[in-house]
Symmetry: D2
Subunit: 258 residues, 4 copies
């Protein structure tokens, strides 16, 4: 899954969408509702952003994953996106988890930045309880003490989660490291650790990005990485696919009694 | 501010409310909407809990502080409580922050368990932007690595916050330590560090509490602590008061440009 | 216990020693062997520093506490200091712990910056095993994620340690916060939490200090703090004393079976 | 580099050494001096352990890496081992770093469990200053908050270190995870992240190990992992070699001005 941190405008999004599609991405990511630490930061285009994502999806054929932050926005986001992202700040937003559980859409649930694996699995349980078994778990780094990276990517969580649940596990090396130069190495490591997928920020012009400019790959960097993975994946016994999410996620649930 | 973690039933709440009132508490706390890690844990009584809080308030004269987790519940909670609590899991729930900002009620904003002081101040800013200047900040412990305590109480955040903002700063030693035996020492330390108030869990029967049983004080323990503080506070240049929140919090804001 | 981070020269040390003595400190602290992250930083005066500490002790009557980092230096440091400090980086330097255990001198054992309370007590056990029961435990902050302070002072460790051992527990608010402006508040909080003593950096000229310049109090600031404590301590049931260490520490050990 | 956590007896060590040699390991690891949290834990065989390591090395042809904890032991350890390990607890044991710097032997420097990358590079600098440029850096996990793993393996430190220094970087997935079942996934991930080597615990009988029993691989598990890596490494542009350490490490230093 690849695309810009935030949907900024039509040109930016379509350019990003075309480049990630041609590089072989399986889904288009892009934020319309952006949770930002400061109220002065760009908060996303909202519904207008959702409509641009839809347009980019129609053009490229890529399904869309985008974040929903407010239980009152679940219906509108579910109309525009194939996969609803719960961001790390919302991992324990229980009203929101219940609402996406009722949406009928698969859910990408990101681990909170100080959440244990147990807490992540309990959060997924809130979605399952509403009858929605299509949850993809995402490791995106926890709070660390070393300013060398933005977060501390906990890749051991991947095999731990895979052993404890049948849900797909993906990794977001872009938010985890916060530095584009580290993304390829951590993307490789995530796959080698057993991740089922990756969430990678790609921006046609990282320098001018309105959000997380330091961590986005340029389209050519992303394309080179995908080429490498296509060569690589078979050795790990994996195939790179364009997932039919409803099929691949459904019925995958297998959680031990926590 | 004192009272049980969760409103469990009428007897429990009224008993707790009477004991904290007679011990000299300034406000009654109690959860009606409870954010719980597991969906199997007691989730609170909801609106029925709010009504019991109102009744306890009428009887004891104590104003009520209680948590709101869902932006759609802000109106109903604001009808029943004098002070709206934003829990640590919701510190960066921006739609919720905006909604309480518009509620006209003062807000008790708890620090997230991996939030920096900067991030806490930015979260307060989301409330201020809606025209609500009545924010009380609360330190309640951050995620640590030592199982000796439930969280790691960061008391240095108190003077740091006091130096950077005019908002009142309170401390929750109950959630921070997770162990009743440590609450008195940490309550004393919080006041000595400059805290403007305390949030203490008191339960008529801690052993039978449906939530956080290990950390609630018994009424006699709370009463002893209050007696001690009344003797102590003047030496710190402080007075123990029953705050008229609208007066004490309003116009207190003074944040530096972050 | 008060004094400069490092012994820099005769004038600096004697000036600091006189001021802390006249303010009522119980012991003189000062580093002759300095553990420094970078080999380019000032490493201390070594044996010459020990001799200056001795001289300052003779003049002021204050016993000396100073760090020993190398098992081969224990004998020489023990000749010059009444109390041997094991720094946080050395908390699990087991050969060193054994050597100070055999020295006949009381030991001030600082908690490592990512050590649990259990690990600190086990480290003390290495000293006890050599027949040395005179161990003072010191909380000085653990590694945190918020740059607002240098370390994260874990004051709850004070009552936890007091409940689990009979050893005296002291707190170092200077290293914990790394900021002189926060030292008084955290010193007050430490005493309120039950600490038996404090380790405070005082420098005649903090701006020119060769080590940890930002965290040292000026002599007048230290003196004001001591005056405040003399007024305060009785309310906490404490007296400020010039300890006869051999008496106060000896026979104090009481550790539960960990 | 593979072998048991601790040298326990002749049979255990020779059995482990033979199995790791036949599986294609490049070096034999095994602890003779063991830093243990509790003085009641097995502390290693000391010099007798070093002699067993020598014997196992003669028989298998594998060079030996073993930990040295005490500056007074550097000479004897350097006589028996080709590579001197500085454990994570000793990363800032500056007298020890200076002593191994003078030993003429290459040094394997493990990152402390709460050390930043900067602090690790500064520690290496203490070795370099004594004229010893042969330092191998090792990531072995930092202190985390999730009991799901023993430590939190920070694999992003691998590309960060590779970008900042010419020193080889290896990873210890055994200590990092503390669980044998996670070692293969994390070993794969470490290589994919760019690690130059691995430090893996292998014990002929993990259940009976006197130290870290939960994290050692059985010989057949290790052998399967090595077979996989031989197939894999070329795709990463790497070759699995039996390093001539003096050649591969020497002249490799390239540190930016920190």
């Amino acid at each position: 899954m690849a695309g810009p941190c935030a949907v900024e405008d039509r040109d930016q999004l379509l350019s990003a969408a075309r480049s990630v599609a041609s590089a072989g991405a399986s889904m288009l990511r892009g934020g319309a509702f952006k949770p930002r630490t400061s109220p002065d930061s760009f908060q996303g285009l909202g519904v207008a952003g959702l409509e641009l994502l839809r347009e980019a999806s129609r053009e490229t054929g890529l399904p869309v994953v985008t974040e929903v932050m407010d239980p009152r926005d679940v219906a509108i986001v579910a109309e525009h996106a194939e996969l609803l992202q719960i961001g790390s700040r919302s991992m324990q937003n229980f009203p929101l988890l219940r609402e996406v559980g009722r949406s009928g859409r698969p859910v990408l649930l990101k681990r909170g930045n100080a959440a244990t694996v147990d807490e992540l699995l309990f959060a997924a349980e809130y979605v399952y309880r509403e009858g929605n078994e299509q949850v993809i778990l995402c490791e995106r780094g926890v709070r660390g003490f070393d300013p060398a990276t933005r977060n501390l990517l906990d890749l051991a969580a991947v095999p731990v989660l895979k052993a404890r649940t049948g849900a797909p596990v993906v990794v977001d090396p872009s938010h985890a490291t916060g530095r584009a130069a580290l993304v390829p190495a951590m993307a490789r490591a995530a796959l080698a650790a057993g991740a089922d997928g990756l969430l990678i920020e790609v921006h046609p012009n990282p320098e001018s990005a309105r959000c997380d400019a330091d961590q986005a790959l340029r389209p050519d960097e992303f394309s080179a990485l995908m080429t490498e993975f296509e060569r690589w994946a078979p050795l790990l016994g994996r195939t790179i696919i364009r997932p039919e999410l409803e099929l691949s996620v459904g019925a995958a649930r297998k959680t031990e009694g926590t």
